[in-house]
Structures are given as C-alpha cells and as structure tokens.
C-alpha cells in the first residue's frame, strides 16, 4: 500500500501520460520563429507523468483519507454541514449549464439568466429584502460587498468622512471585522452580556455620528436569538447607520422570520451552508447579497433584470460599487441552490429550520450533564459547550476534538466563539437522524468519562485516522509549502 501514500510527483516516471490529444491538423510551428528567444520557456514545468490508472489510484487513495458529510456526521458549528443532494450535482453538470460561455450573446443563454433571476427572487423573499446580487463568490466576499455598499451610501450622503466605524459584537465571525477593515472601516467591538446577547447599554454608548453601521449575526454564533434585534436596529438607524445581517447561518430562521422583518438593511447568505451546496473542501461557495430598496443603486454591476419575457444585463447604475467578481458569480453553485429550493418549497424550508433547531436543543440537552453549558436558554440551529471542566482535569478541548475523530465523526468547531473558554461549537443540522444524534452524544459522553478515568487516551488521540496527531508548529516553522525533489 505504501506507494499510494506517495506524492504524485514521487510516482511519476518519464514517458507516462494520462491524456489523449490528437496530432496537429494544421501546420506545425517552430516557436523560435514566432517568439523572441527570451520569452520561450527554457526549462519545462516539472508536472507529474503518470498513466490514467495510476492517476485514479492516487486520487482515490487520497479520497479515502478525507472525511466528508457522506462519510459521517459533521457537527462543525457555524458551517451547516447538511447533506449535499445528488440531483444538484447532476443538474449543475448539464451541458446547458456547464458548457456555456459567460460572454455568449444574451439571447443564447436565456435559460441561465432565467434561473439566476428566479433565484434572486426566491432569495429576496427568504431574506425579506428588495433586491439580490448573486455576484459574490462566498460569504466573506458577500460581507465585503455589503460593507462597500455601506461605504458608498455614506459617501453619496456626504457623510463618509465622519462615518468611519463599524460596530461588531465580540461573538461575531472572524470574517466580520476583517471584511470591515478591508472596506476601509475601523472596527469597534461591542461586548456581550451574561446572556450571550449584545449588551444594549454598551451598544448605545458606542453609537454616534461616527457610526457607519452594525454587523450582526442572528441567531448569533452562540446559537442564541438576539431578541432585542428590533430595538438594536432602531438605535443604529436613529444614529444614521445601517444594519448588516451576516446570514451565513440562515438554517435557524428559514420560513420562521426574515432579516428584513428584523430591521436589517443588507444581508448576505451562504448558499453553501443553508442551501445545501457542497463545501468542496473549502469552496467554491456562493455569497449572494440582498438589500432594501434604498440601497439598490449601490449593488454590484451588471444586474440581471427582466424585461417582459426577456432577461438582460444592466450596468447603468452610476452609484454602483462596481464589480466584485468576474462574470455573474459562481453560477454552478447557484444552479445547485436553485435546485435545492425547488426541491424543498416553502413548507420544506420551514421544516428545515424546525428540525435543525430541535436537533440542536435535543443534543445539547443530552450533553448538558457532562460539559459546561455557559448559556442555558433555548438555542437555535447550534449551541456552544465549554470544555473548561475537562481542561481543569488536564485535557484541553483540542484533544477532545481529536478524540471524536476516532468515533467516526468529524469534530465540532473548537475555540470559537472567542468569548467562550475552551469552546466546542456544535451544529447538528436537520439532515441527521435521531439515532446519529444519540450515538454522537454517547461518544462525547464517553470522552468526558475518559477525561476523568484515562486522560492519556484523549491526549494522544486520534488513533484511527490515516495519520496521528500532526505537528502544526513544525509546519509553520519550517514552512514547506511545495514539493522539492
């Protein structure tokens, strides 16, 4: 088996190949007659040389060392690792969607624009907004797009110089402050109160003429619904700021409420979370952004619009923030999300949020006796435990995460949100069975017992994965980021 552990470069042999290209049917060219000598490549790129069967064994072997949702339960908090439907994969590969060019005449791609336009309309009502752009490639780019619109809005009002600050709760996703900074804002962190929600007194203290906006996740990353949201939105609006909804995790509120009803002006959605498109090991995703009517002029261009029964591209928005990504966003991902929404319909989506929330609360209830639960109210789609009890016994949370891998599950998100000591953030999603939730709870309970009785068992985990505990410090110090023969 050892050869299958090799890098593809290590199994390479000159003279092998895994491609099929015809000989040229046009006259051959001597490159030196066409290009100046110094622009012709001197040394070839050392790409691997393998046969097709070798190639398939290599990558199949790698796939067996990788854990996805189809392998098992993936309770990674804030990542909404729900099942990725197979019909979506088939549909996205239809020639009519995959083999079309973004610059084809618009009348030759009306089916694609129809799909995008209808998806915009669906997401619009799901988010309670008045318009949607599908251009951003992922959640973080959606956030940044939204913040660029906040900037453009204040600039248009002659207010940009004064409004320099974006308020972000301390429970926020790390991407929030980063996106705000990349959009040229200063970030002011708002502390949470003991209930895990935004401290309104602190919020009022920080709000002022320099407030550009507030970024909020609701339910927040602790899985708690910010029930004062209406008042918060009013506070920000009264001060002249805008309210931004980080909709990375819409799973808790699908069909229950909308960010629009809560008072938000701008929303981004992660189609690769709530709308079932696969994460692909890190991407591609899709991060559409929705806005209320008064912000429509600032949306990225071009916009996809409908004129009678015809779809067109419209770039005539002089106040637009411009283009944030090439073409029309991650179309192939949007096709999958559209297919999902059509599969579920309004009742199905509502059932998603009901099951997701029920699962999270049930699982939390089962684990409460064994792990510290810093917040006791009902959670929404996810909840946060603290491993502080286990840490005091000499087993930091990271080890619990590694031990879970041995039970055939992926690990929860750990050490986030930052405001919970030794955080274990668990999001079971709606697509898991009660049996899986119970088995996972049993595993975490067994680990809690191991921490007390045989802590070294947990400290040395994992045992069953393709490699044992990896040395991250060594990786960062030696910094080998490519293979050198």
């Amino acid at each position: 088996m050892t050869e299958y552990n090799d890098l593809i470069f290590e199994v390479s042999q000159p003279g092998r190949s895994a491609f099929s290209l015809p000989e040229s049917d046009v006259p051959l060219i001597d490159l030196t007659t066409k290009f100046p000598q110094h622009l012709i490549r001197e040394e070839p790129a050392e790409l691997p040389e393998v046969s097709e069967p070798q190639l398939m064994r290599h990558y199949t072997s790698l796939s067996t060392k990788n854990f996805g949702v189809d392998n098992g339960f993936y309770p990674l908090g804030s990542c909404t690792m729900k099942y990725n439907p197979k019909i979506n994969e088939d549909v996205a590969r239809y020639d009519g969607f995959a083999a079309i060019h973004p610059f084809q005449p618009v009348e030759t791609v009306q089916g694609a624009f129809e799909l995008l336009y209808e998806l915009q309309e669906d997401l619009q009502v799901i988010a309670g907004m008045d318009a949607i752009t599908l251009q951003p490639a992922a959640g973080a780019q959606g956030e940044w797009t939204g913040l660029m619109m906040i900037k453009a809005y204040h600039t248009k009002n002659g207010d940009r110089a004064a409004r320099t600050k974006i308020l972000v709760p301390d429970s926020a996703h790390g991407t929030n402050p980063a996106s705000a900074h990349a959009a040229g804002f200063d970030v002011v962190e708002i502390p949470s109160n003991p209930n895990g929600t935004v401290d309104l007194v602190e919020l009022k203290k920080q709000v002022g003429k320099d407030t550009a906006g507030l970024m909020l996740t609701n339910p927040n990353t602790l899985g708690i619904f910010e029930k004062d949201i209406i008042e918060m939105a009013e506070i920000i609006h009264e001060a002249g700021g805008l309210v931004y909804y980080d909709g990375a995790n819409l799973n808790a509120i699908l069909g229950q409420t909308t960010p629009g009803m809560m008072g938000f002006d701008i929303v981004h959605l992660n189609l690769h979370k709530s709308f079932s498109t696969p994460h692909g090991g890190g991407g591609p995703g899709s991060g559409p952004v929705g806005v209320k009517e008064f912000l429509i002029p600032y949306l990225p261009i071009p916009r996809i619009e409908k004129q009678e029964n015809h779809y067109v591209l419209n770039a005539a928005y002089p106040d637009s923030i411009g283009r944030v990504k090439g073409y029309y966003g991650n179309f192939g991902v949007n096709v999958r999300a559209y297919t999902y929404i059509r599969t579920m319909g309004p009742k199905g989506l509502r059932q998603v949020s009901e099951s997701a929330v029920l699962h999270a609360n049930y699982l939390r209830k089962r684990l409460e006796p064994y792990y510290d639960t810093p917040y006791t109210q009902y959670s929404k789609h996810e909840f946060v435990l603290s491993g502080s009890r286990q840490k005091k016994q000499g087993v930091p949370t990271l080890n619990i995460a590694k031990r879970i891998l041995d039970f055939g599950y992926y690990a929860p998100t750990v050490y986030f949100p930052l405001i919970v000591d030794e955080a274990l953030m668990i999001e079971p999603t709606e697509t898991e069975t009660k049996e899986t939730l119970d088995a996972f709870a049993d595993a975490l309970i067994q680990i809690a017992i191991e921490v007390e009785e045989t802590p070294e068992m947990v400290l040395n985990a994992p045992y069953t994965t393709s490699v044992r505990r990896l040395d991250e410090v060594k990786a960062a110090r030696q910094l080998i980021v490519k293979h050198t023969p």
């Binding site: 050490y415 991250e472 410090v473 960062a476 110090r477």
Partner: protein, 133 residues
C-alpha cells in the same frame, strides 16, 4: 542613571540598558508563555525610527499574531537576524538568544517610566490573579 538591570514594560517587553544610551529589547517569559510555540518573528529594519508604542515587529504563534510595540523612542541599530530561521529561540531563551532588537535612545529619560523587575513581577501576579477570577 543607567543600571545593568533589566527594565520592563506593561506590554511584556524587557529592556536591557547596554550603556551609551542604547538598549536591547526582547519579550518576557510571561509573554512567551501566553503566546505558546512561536513560529515566526518579524523584526524591524535597521535604521528604522521607533517611538513609544509604535509597532516594531510581529510575533506569531500558530494561533495568534501579536504586534511588538516599542517601549522607547529611538533608532533601531541592530536586530536579531537569527530569529528569521530560528523563531524557537524566543521560546527557548527569551532573555538571551531570543532578543529582538537594539535601539539607540533618543530620550534616555523614558527609561524612568519603565517597571523594575520587582514591579513587573507584581504586575504579572496581578494579571494572573485576574485570570483566575
């Protein structure tokens, strides 16, 4: 008046007067413990001007990246180039081989505002007590 003893800042740097209005600067064992395994150190450039509180470099562990703020005003006259390939020196020997930079002081009087060894230890003890609470 110059002493041969280390002084400290509340940002957890040590400052060792070397005579002739120059000091050597590094980070304290407490800071190192907080950071964990250090994987990268970005030192300032020689001849760079620094002032109290200005950023003069970065220390990264695998889970954090922290700025190093200059405890004094002056000119960088030497940096520890060993750190580029050996960031672990800061972990292994924070007060000796893991030193960071040498600064020629513009206002030697600033040293009077720094903490003595005893005062710094008291400050750290206070922080530890807060942590417990």
């Amino acid at each position: 008046m110059m002493t041969e003893e280390r002084l400290y800042s509340k940002d957890h740097e040590w400052i060792l007067p070397l005579g002739e209005n120059t000091v050597r600067v590094g980070i304290t064992a407490y800071a190192v413990e907080q950071l964990g395994d250090i994987v990268y150190v970005e030192v300032p450039e020689i001849d760079a001007e620094v002032s109290v509180g200005s950023e003069m470099g970065t220390v990264e562990s695998i889970k954090s990246a922290s700025e190093i703020f200059s405890p004094v005003t002056g000119l960088i006259i030497a940096v520890n180039e060993e750190l580029e390939d050996g960031p672990e020196l800061v972990n292994d020997s924070p007060y000796e081989e893991g030193w960071f930079a040498e600064i020629q002081l513009e206002n030697p009087i600033e040293l009077k505002g720094l903490l003595s060894e005893a005062n710094y230890q008291a400050y750290v003890a206070e922080l530890a007590a807060e942590e417990e609470a």
